[in-house]
């Protein structure tokens, strides 16, 4: 088996709690491996440590204990140089929650160029990358627009283009859909899926929206700083009771089928897709 792209070993992250002498543990002994080219969804409710985990992966935060390997390179190594960090951040791009707070420039294409400019890429190559990145996210026609006139979903796609232009191997989406309306959410989710399937970029999507997790190859649920569940969406969402106890929901269709089958209706309880669910239900109702 090949070396996993991201490997995390016994990660501990704490911060000082103002109210007590004890440290507050955000992450306790978290270990995880993520394969190259996979689409992983990290779920968890507020304060579960999922965002902290994301910020550790490109050294915006550094862990108290534990090791993080990106593409076989130990980024928690205390002798890490500025240039190593630079390379890590190029390889592992990050898209944040608030689209307004991550755009730097007053013109869309100049914002997308910001990353490659920082990397010191040749001007003609930057031009090429900017055009293809905007094409990928479907924002080419807005290249010369001002970002503050775009919708939330469009801004977020511009932010994604800004990361793609740096040609990363992995992109972390830190609750990038949380502030968007349903339409913006769908736009961004489609872009994410496309990046993963067409360009083979490893995607780590952090969210608390269960319906988005269904689209992933793998779902990791973090609860109170520990890995709570890990598996394919089907495997994870079959643990309806366990998820509920952790204060998490399951996708609405799954919940419906789970409750129906628990009330003695003869239906499968592991339905994730709404279309699939609708078909099964209508077939069952015709019986």
């Amino acid at each position: 088996m090949s070396v996993p792209f991201i490997k995390v070993e016994d990660l501990i992250f704490t911060y000082d709690d103002e109210d007590s002498i004890d440290k507050h543990y955000v992450l306790k002994n978290l270990s995880l491996e993520i394969e190259k080219g996979s689409f992983v969804c990290v779920l968890g409710h507020n304060g579960s440590g999922k965002s902290t985990f994301a910020k550790l992966l490109n050294m915006i935060l550094s862990p108290d204990e534990g090791k993080i390997y990106i593409d076989g390179f130990d980024i928690t190594n205390p002798d890490i140089t500025e240039d190593d960090l630079f390379e890590i951040r190029r390889k592992v791009g990050m898209v944040f929650q608030n689209p307004d707070n991550q755009l730097v420039a007053t013109i869309v294409e100049e914002d997308v160029a910001f990353g490659p400019e920082n990397l010191g890429v040749e001007p003609s190559e930057i031009r090429r990358r900017v055009d293809s990145a905007l094409e990928t996210v479907g924002m080419s026609e807005y290249a010369t627009h001002a970002p503050h006139r775009l919708s939330g979903g469009q801004k977020q796609r511009v932010a994604i283009a800004g990361i793609i232009a740096m040609q990363p191997e992995c992109i972390i989406f830190d609750e990038s859909t949380a502030m968007l309306d349903p339409q913006g959410r769908a736009e961004v989710m489609n872009t994410i899926a496309k990046l993963n399937s067409e360009q083979g970029i490893t995607v780590i999507h952090i969210t608390h929206n269960m319906d988005e997790a269904v689209k992933a190859d793998r779902v990791v649920v973090i609860n109170e700083g520990e890995i709570f569940l890990d598996g394919t969406p089907k495997e994870v969402f079959s643990n309806v009771e366990k998820l509920r106890r952790a204060g998490l929901d399951v996708p609405q269709v799954t919940e419906l089928f789970y409750d129906l089958s628990h009330h003695g209706v003869d239906l499968p309880s592991d339905i994730l897709c709404e279309e699939e669910g609708a078909e099964i239900l209508s077939a069952w109702l015709k019986k």
Partner: protein
């Protein structure tokens, strides 16, 4: 309504002026402003007017947009015009003398000249700079023009970056102010009555959350910039490589010629018919 403010009023395009190096445009705009103030004779104003119209034509910015951009000047224009028409004291017999109103021919001419000077000043310099140069290109130009100051360790790049980020966030913060004000109004805040002090005090509950949010945004942006490998000006390249070319030389010479023509027309104005002086 607040959202509609256009900042830097950049008008995207591919005209002759758009393609010129921002540095050339900044220097040309400065020279142009000097030229406007050198205008002294009617002939020089004719030259200036023609030159400004040519500049506008070269920028590809529709006249309509430029006229719209002049709107904020209406009060200043109206004030200077009225002032000059009614209070200018000429040497020739007045055109109109009715009760306390006296209007001289020179007053009328001077009013027109002042108005033209103000209009040309704004239209010309904004066509040269803000309409045809995106804010980033503009700050980039300033950064490059000031780059000799790097030798005395002045943080030129940081200064330019701060300027472009400020430009980027003004609309965002204006929108946010609007939102906070609505939220406060919904809870009974009153911004529109009372004296100056009362109104100023009513703004405190708007400014405090605005400040806090601005700081939060700043910290978010700093993290996002770090994630995009920002580490200051060293080792950075730019997408649009700017180089002095034939176009820049052309604009430069044209502006210098304009200045020379204006100075000459001032000096030799007595060669022109008397009504042109």
């Amino acid at each position: 309504m607040l959202k509609d403010i256009t900042l830097g009023q950049f008008f995207p395009g591919k005209s002759f002026l758009h393609k010129i190096d921002p540095r050339t445009k900044i220097i040309s705009a400065l020279l142009y402003i000097v030229a406007v103030f050198l205008c002294d004779s009617i002939m020089s104003f004719i030259i200036l007017l023609v030159a400004t119209l040519i500049l506008i034509a070269m920028s590809g910015v529709p006249i309509k947009i430029i006229v719209k951009g002049l709107k904020p000047l209406i009060f200043i224009l109206a004030f200077t015009t009225i002032y000059n028409v009614f209070f200018y004291k000429g040497d020739t017999p007045p055109l109109v003398h009715w009760k306390f109103i006296t209007i001289y021919a020179e007053g009328l001419v001077f009013a027109v000249i002042m108005a033209l000077r103000i209009i040309c000043l704004l239209a010309g310099s904004s066509v040269l700079m803000t309409y045809t140069t995106s804010p980033i290109m503009l700050t980039d130009g300033i950064e490059r023009l000031l780059s000799p100051l790097n030798k005395i360790k002045a943080p030129v790049h940081e200064f330019a970056m701060m300027m472009s980020i400020a430009l980027r966030f003004i609309p965002t913060l204006v929108e946010e102010t609007d939102k906070i004000m609505s939220a406060q109004k919904a809870r009974g805040a009153d911004f529109n009555s009372g004296g100056l002090i009362k109104r100023a005090r009513a703004l405190i509950p708007v400014l405090v959350p605005l400040f806090i949010s601005a700081f939060r945004r700043a910290s978010d942006l700093a993290v996002a910039m770090e994630c995009r490998c920002y580490r200051g000006g060293s080792g950075r390249t730019r997408m649009t490589k700017t180089r002095f070319g034939a176009r820049d030389a052309f604009l430069f010479i044209a502006i210098l010629l304009l200045g020379t023509a204006i100075v000459l027309s001032n000096i030799y104005s007595y060669y022109f018919p008397i009504w042109l002086t």
